[in-house]
Symmetry: C2
Subunit: 434 residues, 2 copies
């Protein structure tokens, strides 16, 4: 079959399979709607309902359905050589509180719909392809205590910390993660003891489709994005600048210890550093989400003696993160000295960037060309399960689908026409992948 | 008598009069001490006690003691020609809550002690010299509602606003200013109806001694400062920047509306503008006392959609205030445009600078030379009654006395040796003034 014949053949099969996707979006959405928005609690009722409905459709398609000991769902279309490690594609089925219907159900349903299309087209892939429904990706919303997030995929990949089953606390039930996994009918002990369910030796690669959480694709009128890298982060949650309170009229600047103007200088320096990195083609975003003088001590006519702020710095490039961290510390020390204040940046947490696999990225980009889909390469700013697959050594890639109004809110909006393009790309990828 | 003989003669007389000053500082201090610090409420008990004790000592000296209809105290040493408008010197006898013992009692006691010294030295001034104990200078602390501050001197000078007797509310008693004046035994109706007690036609000039509220004199090891001008102010109490909240990882900078980085740029621009004015020899201080993101909406990983801040900009030069105000508005508009945010600066209140009278400044500076007192000219950043005398057209001057630890707190600290230098200067000034 020629390349364009294959594309046409697959497209017809995808269109024939779209009712499955719509049925699941509507069914899951209707049963997990909590005005405003959708709520599917990790290891809670809404997530279970979504897993159950997806499993039912997958079984009706004749896929082989299993779960791992942490409750992640696997729905497998057999390949020509069943002894080879499978491709996996999917995303999470939980949501933030009052979130949207598509983050991350779109990724699980796209994988399932692509398998339905392959089956409909009578295409047998070279090796098994598994659609995956992942647990507890929205752990920042549903778990407190000490944990590293993305608890479902990290449990499957053997990436949980030593005591994380005990130190991650499920907010809605006040259970430990261990108790939450057991209460959902799975086996936390096996998570702890067992070898990882997914490893670089038993998985060929992972492709995650997800709605874009930013406005870039909508802004550029593109249906899909092929993710280059999931940004790493440098985060300071409790930075402070200490100066001295004094009279705003009576004390000249050279005798002041002004915590706000020192902080303004530091934050302005970082803003310019961001722009320079960007001008040179580097990747960097920089956000000060919180900034406060002390409400107990502040006054219109008082030189401020303290300022508190947060830093959230992200880049695809580990060296950029390192140099930004060094810049923050160097400038804080220098500004502290010349302005007579003291910066205490507090604990700075670092997460490494996760570069998507070059061959998978190239192949997916090739697919958008073959299928005539308007697309571009795009960095990913937010965290996703695909970053954990990458950290576990599994070749991974991500496909973003255009989405307006951001995510993590009831107004996120993905067009079914764009979702269809994503499914076409996944089906094309797995039809041709070796 | 030669100049140096006069200086020596006056100094002996001042030293002989210092026990009066110490007696009053100790007596008033002991009876208005409220751990920590001193509390003399405007139109309240502590202020009354101070007025009563000062009056008693003035009567014992044989001075002519009167009050005006707002309760300000006048203690007069007759001059050679009693038909001429008198010199007045003094300051306020109230304090902020838990303030120090010297702000502003030092000014009233210095004037009284100088008159005692003139009397002791047998020097009869050319015209009457009146020591004044002013009411309610600390109105920002003790009055709420709508008022213009410095209620005692402004009442005497006929500068109260149309309805201020009703709209200024006395916090401790919840009375209107009218009721507070009447309750203290004075006559608010006469304040309202009558001609001003003090005018440029019936007062020769006003000299106010006050502790410095900043650290400049201590820093430069000088006992006294001769004030050049009382700074005017531009104040914005409720400025805001409106942007849009969004994901700090998923949204690139060029699509953000970041209220914090826009505010940082504006505040940084003003910081550099301050430095430029200063480098050119201009007078300017600039303070952002309050700066906040919205605690209800903010997040470490959210681009901030709002920032609130205050501006307190002061200068001796009216044109500098005007150009800074224009700069704030121009930069806010330009930054708003290029960063996709909107600044609402809110109401901007302006108070004009009050230049001290050139001839009085020159004469006082001459006095420090004649008396061998380490002194310099100095701008005044905070507000004082002398600014209101200036606004009423009365030639006015101020003498600052070195003070450590700032003012408006229990730790303010003036050495009696420095106070003595201030009294020497006042006595010298009135002995020679025509």
């Amino acid at each position: 079959m020629s390349s364009s014949d294959l594309a046409e053949w697959l497209t017809e099969a995808v269109d024939a399979s779209m009712p499955l996707a719509k049925r699941l979006f509507n069914g899951i959405g209707r049963r997990t709607f909590t005005d405003p928005g959708y709520t599917r609690i990790s290891y809670g009722e809404g997530e279970k309902l979504a897993h159950d409905m997806v499993t039912e459709e997958a079984r009706a398609l004749g896929l082989d359905c299993t779960t791992d000991v942490a409750g992640n769902l696997y729905m497998t279309l057999p390949g020509r050589d069943r002894s080879l490690p499978p491709w996996i594609s999917g995303s999470h089925l939980d949501t933030v509180p009052h979130g949207g219907n598509y983050d991350g159900a779109a990724g699980a349903l796209a994988a399932l719909t692509a398998l339905a299309a392959l089956k409909h087209a009578g295409i047998e892939p070279a090796r098994d392809v598994t659609a995956m429904g992942i647990r507890a990706e929205e752990s920042s919303s549903w778990f407190t205590g000490h944990h590293g997030g993305h608890l479902g995929s990290r449990a499957a990949l053997g990436l949980l910390w030593e005591d994380e089953l005990e130190t991650a606390i499920h907010i809605p039930t006040e259970r430990t993660l261990r108790e939450a996994i057991d209460a959902a009918g799975f086996n936390a002990d096996a998570v702890r003891r067992g070898p990882p369910h997914l490893t670089k030796d038993n998985v060929r690669g992972f492709v995650e489709l997800h709605i874009e959480q930013g406005p870039v694709l909508a802004h550029e009128r593109l249906a899909l994005g092929i993710v280059t890298s999931i940004r790493g982060t440098i985060r300071a949650r409790e930075s402070r600048c200490f100066g001295a309170y004094t009279h705003s009229g009576a004390v000249p600047h050279e005798l002041r210890h002004d915590a706000v103007l020192a902080t303004v200088e530091l934050l302005g320096d970082l803003d310019r550093a961001w722009a320079e990195v960007r001008e040179k083609g580097g990747d960097l975003v920089y956000t000060v989400g919180k900034l406060h003088t002390d409400v107990e001590m502040e006054g219109l006519s008082k030189v401020p003696g303290e300022a508190r702020f947060t830093l959230d710095i992200r880049s695809q490039d580990s060296e950029t993160l390192t140099s930004m961290r060094e810049l923050v510390e160097r400038r804080a020390a220098a500004i502290g000295q010349h302005r007579g204040v003291r910066f205490d940046l507090g604990r700075i947490a670092r997460g490494e960037p996760a570069a998507m696999h070059p061959a998978l990225r190239a192949r997916l980009l090739e697919g958008t060309g073959a299928l005539g889909i308007a697309a571009r390469e795009i960095p990913c700013g937010a965290g996703h399960d695909a970053a954990d697959f990458t950290r576990a050594g599994i070749p991974s890639a991500m496909v973003f689908v255009r989405n307006t109004n951001g995510s993590h809110n009831p107004d996120e909006h993905m067009e079914m026409a764009d979702f269809r393009e994503g499914v076409r790309l996944l089906a094309w990828f797995f039809a041709g992948a070796d």
